[in-house]
Symmetry: C2
Subunit: 648 residues, 2 copies
Amino acid sequence: MKTTETRKLGNIQITDPFWRKRMKVIRDEVIPYQWEALNDRIPDAPASHAIENFKIAAGEASGEFFGFVFQDSDVAKWLEAVAYSLDSDPNPELENTADQVIELIERAQQENGYLNTYFTIKEPEGKWSNLRDRHEMYCAGHMIEAAVAYSQVTGKRKLLDVMCRFADHIDSVFGKEESKIPGYDGHQEIELSLVKLYRETGNERYLKLSKYFIDERGQLPHFFDEEKKRRSDEKPFWWNDEYGDYSYHQAHLPVREQKEAIGHAVRAMYMYTAMADLAKETGDETLKQACETLWENVTQKQMYITGGVGSQDFGEAFSFDYDLPNDTCYTETCASIGLVFWANRMLGIEKNGKYADVMERALYNGTISGMDLDGKKFFYVNPLEVWPKATEKRKDKEHVKPVRQKWYSCACCPPNLARLIASIGHYIYSVDQNEVFVHLYMGNKTELEMDGQKVQVMQETSYPWDGHVKITLSPEKATEFTMAVRIPGWCQGATLKVNGKIMELTHLIKNGYAYITRLWEKGDAIELLLPMPVERIRANPNIRGNAGKVALQKGPVVYCLEEVDNGANLSSIYLPKESELEETYDEKLLDGICVITARAEKVDEALWNGELYKPIEPKAKPITMKAIPYYAWCNRQPGEMIVWISEI
Amino acid sequence: MKTTETRKLGNIQITDPFWRKRMKVIRDEVIPYQWEALNDRIPDAPASHAIENFKIAAGEASGEFFGFVFQDSDVAKWLEAVAYSLDSDPNPELENTADQVIELIERAQQENGYLNTYFTIKEPEGKWSNLRDRHEMYCAGHMIEAAVAYSQVTGKRKLLDVMCRFADHIDSVFGKEESKIPGYDGHQEIELSLVKLYRETGNERYLKLSKYFIDERGQLPHFFDEEKKRRSDEKPFWWNDEYGDYSYHQAHLPVREQKEAIGHAVRAMYMYTAMADLAKETGDETLKQACETLWENVTQKQMYITGGVGSQDFGEAFSFDYDLPNDTCYTETCASIGLVFWANRMLGIEKNGKYADVMERALYNGTISGMDLDGKKFFYVNPLEVWPKATEKRKDKEHVKPVRQKWYSCACCPPNLARLIASIGHYIYSVDQNEVFVHLYMGNKTELEMDGQKVQVMQETSYPWDGHVKITLSPEKATEFTMAVRIPGWCQGATLKVNGKIMELTHLIKNGYAYITRLWEKGDAIELLLPMPVERIRANPNIRGNAGKVALQKGPVVYCLEEVDNGANLSSIYLPKESELEETYDEKLLDGICVITARAEKVDEALWNGELYKPIEPKAKPITMKAIPYYAWCNRQPGEMIVWISEI
């Protein structure tokens, strides 16, 4: 059975103002800007050289390779974002540019299918000698994802053919057979991309190769040790010198024995995504169980309220259960994006609202906070508390930037966000036989095929500011199937109507979805009323730093306080337990947001007379506290920001 | 006029149980252990080689230099601690050992007076070529301090003569004159030691040399740049590559232009100490002003409630105003010791209780927390909040150790604490003409000379557990002079009696001291009743991490909660505002401490059902919270610890 990912794209039209705005920004700002960046045409920006590397590898330019070993992946992510963008916004000129890049890539491919500009240009003898560090298959994976997307959207197979040749070559190099290398990449990515390639081409070799990489990972004797011996490398690996294992790459144990998320967060997310894909495609129960165990660990012990993951800078990594500091976290944009991928694949295994809840949490908070409203600046690190001076003066906070940056030399997050947002439509629905699942609420039009009948689907909503959702179904002719609409985990007291008639929800709900089976006729409408009052969320008391604090959340949107609205020293603001939380939609502020205000108190510094410590009863002044959505922070004057607010 | 530091020692006998116990531990554990360590006779301990280095330098052993460039200072600090210990506890065997070490040191001295085993053995051509990094004068300074102490206590001048020769040599090498090097040491220490040497010998050249080093520091063209050019060193300095200046060494500006403490905290403390000494000895008003400005900055903006200073690991350094995180601080034991030195010297400039308050704060908290009760294990870093797992799993907390360590290869803190505790008597009194200042309260007997008369002084107290202090004066014959007794800044409602008669304090107090001038007769007694109820101390609201929290303090002693008394997850404990704080003296616990208990609440985790975030009203269980003195933490089962407690 085909899954969401494999459905022909081009049939979901996003009409939602919230997401459409972001898609436009990707189309008009991010994609053109990155194209200029890839071609080194941005003054004052760090050189990319990514296109030039392909030219040199193709023998069409002279010079040296420049950039990271994974520089090729920048081109891949750009192409993938372009593909998705072309899907919603056809643009012949952009498509032509992409076609030319693809031709260049093809010319840079070696005869045996090998494709990687770093090794082609700089270290031709070093191919496949350092899987741990060199990202060869990581780059391949991203290019495969781009190839699949480009083929799906444009119908053009050139890049897909190129990448099938490379995948075939990889398959000929890696595996259990004696003649092959029994290895896997240090940065997971190829695994999930091979499942995509299998779904697109139907070639089971790709599925098997992906499964091989996942199954082999962490087995003993350890491949990273073995390849290290082969290259006579004496240097300790920077991370495992510290930790004594390969947990940085989630290769410290066979994947089925891993119970806690550890190591580099993006690698973890990409691996778990592939594991879920494989569990679905192969029906492997042990792999499914491993995914579920890791899911519980991440989402119940190692995830920020924003859907951010990776609580430490060292290794851009997970640390341990309940260690979720707000001001020193890493919470990379790419890791939140990876969490969206993983949640999406878990939904592929089991339709359970808990997966969609986390997907939605990441989408409305920790992913899109990575980009400013204009698509011109980006965060890698998405902190939940910022004191700008500390990020400037303290070494242990220097990874936290108080303002978004223009572009990075390691440009992973911006194009990753571009491809996510450009493909946001893929996360809304999934179809299982005669069931249509609605995971996300956003305005869109699409067409599904149920029981051989085409069904027009239209969603209308002002989500995430208002929980009223209307889904209108127009089958060609009356057709029986099931609509399973998600009742979000954050929602109490949802109301569901079909053609205006209220349905008794308790009987319809299973695992977070309300199942409505009927003969659907043209114009039938499902209406959902999802109350989304502002709520005070408290953290599990094991999260040390959130003791005595609340976060404000409205629907899926987590809020924060900014200095520009509340003055400096946000930690001296106390929200009384009894204060009412008022919400107002302000269409002019930050592209239109729901603002939360409340009567609060701010400690009066005057009492201290400049002293540090005193046995005094603090006095407070009343203030009107103003909170804005977390994703929109740092789009005005820079300053302090907090998500978790002291409560009295 | 001679100051405290220059008074002949040997006349203060500590009878105080609190301090006497610690002095015994220094005598019986730390000094013998360090002697074994210096001689590499401790199995499994990192090699010291410090004595062996001197033997090699003296031509009495063969082999290579081993250790840090400042390895010699370990021997110096040991000798200084030995000197002070011999003062209170004569020990001919130990004195004989020390005499032999001193003879060895003399034999290791070069003909021109130069003395440093690293350069003598390993890099004879490199002398004075890298003042920034190589600690040559830092080692000299510590040996001068040892020489002064040893001479004062034993009357033996050999080491003093050795160090005078070295100081004379240094004086011949450094200075403004064209033939000399216009430099100063990267690690301040020589400056304060030269003032001691001046005070001991009366030789003004040492005072002038100290003043030269202080005045020259931070002037342009910058000496560290110039010497770097001379040695054709291209490498960026690790700290100023980051910060663009020499603030790590407090050499970013001339000292009189420095307004905020910055850089390596121990260096800062030693420099400020020397500056205060010089301000006193030379009457330099600009230097005095600089000291006062820096004092206000450190004690009103950059000091922990424990008297710890240096809030970040990177550079073991100050960060910036109000940046005082509890769980990532550095707060090195040596830095708190340095703060005691500095406070002591500020009292030399001006008798103001604010200096003694800080000195006392550091003495009862952030210094002695560096050693366990048995003198066998030591903290370098003295955190105010510890979650052991985080120190193990997070790179940004790996400098914080959850338990004291046996000994360090960089053995600066243990011997520094040894010399401080062994000389604790020096910090109690100072005498200005006809005024006797009592800065600290601890049981002791001493003899002063006032107006030509010998005056026996006896202090009796159960401080710090009880604020009743009795000072009995016994002059040879009735003598008029002033007793100025400190009324601690933490104390409200002190009562002062002379021979049983209550004195009206308001008229007697000036800057934190009560001045009593009278004709003192044999057996006259001053009684102080210093109420020391447990108080809830709140932090200046600019200290972000202490918002909504209180620290408990009784008299000068800051308290903490430990997991062993209160269970895990101390941040989930809330102390209600109205809870009474009960104190009980427990003579069996931790060598005898006052324990604080209170009714408190601990959040019930069960409500969360393992989830991370919920819109629930937290429920709490009543508990009896138990607090112990901060200095005594980690003397039982290891576990969590916090100083700042959430309040509701």
